[in-house]
Symmetry: C2
Subunit: 151 residues, 2 copies
Amino acid sequence: MSETLPGDPLRLEQQLCFPLYAASRLVTRLYQPLLEPLGLTYPQYIVLMILWEESPCSVSRIGERALLASNTLTPLLKRLEQQGLVQRSRAAHDERVVTIALTEAGQALRRDCACVPAKLYQQVGYPLDEARQLKAQLDTLLARLASLPPG
Amino acid sequence: MSETLPGDPLRLEQQLCFPLYAASRLVTRLYQPLLEPLGLTYPQYIVLMILWEESPCSVSRIGERALLASNTLTPLLKRLEQQGLVQRSRAAHDERVVTIALTEAGQALRRDCACVPAKLYQQVGYPLDEARQLKAQLDTLLARLASLPPG
DNA sequence: CGAATATAAGTCGCACACGATTTAATCGTA
DNA sequence: TACGATTAAATCGTGTGCGACTTATATTCG
């Protein structure tokens, strides 16, 4: 038998990728009960955070910040449009570009989301120091990953 | 206008959740070219790592370690079965339990995956110290998240 | 100018994730 | 021992992610 030994690089507990993957999913799950009453999914919430900072905004600009491509964003944005939170329109200066603008309702939703970060943070009860340090390290990793040559 | 200000908790760059979510996706994307030639997806690779450590193994045991439920695992395991990597069978002592056992091919695939962790690590070029520290912090966070009361 | 190229979004197909529900088997206990 | 509660998988529906491709528009340069 080719049993895995304690130091084997293929052991689950040796992986950096696994806690990253699992923690990401569990955090998304924690958001769900906070966002569901607002009719939002977690990726939709991410996109809205971008729009609350800059609206109007092109699809590719959103993709640049969320690191998502149009094949993910287009359906997501159509759902936000159907909920009346954003408006989609072709840019005049370049007909290829689709401009996403928050509606009144989309702007207003920001107030309902204001308490979400604090509520989530409180649920996890994660020490602030550790959280800050982890965020710094994740930001570094993310920057490195995002700068890797594609392919 | 309710513009977001630099210190606003709803700003994307203030979030811990976003780099977690984005880094997790980018890492999965990095695995893809390494796993695709072996006919594997990233979640399938995770499940196989568990099976390389303990096979046979029940579906719920896999779920316990991967933090995935049967609604995700059942289809995934059926695909692994179709590829001839695992065998699914009802346990004799309890007919509710489905036992997953690696086939010869499933065992053999472990050797082809042996180089995957090193290759990935090399691609990212992430300093070992930082990686170790980040992993420790993610393990801590994951333990905390997994121990939260459900609901 | 005009063809080749590049770019922005969208479409398609597949494989997750996961809440909610269902089905089947086992367990607990009156 | 019967029967309600519990448990293990599976099923179903929705919403991502993403590789591969298409479509429409703009740009470049011969």
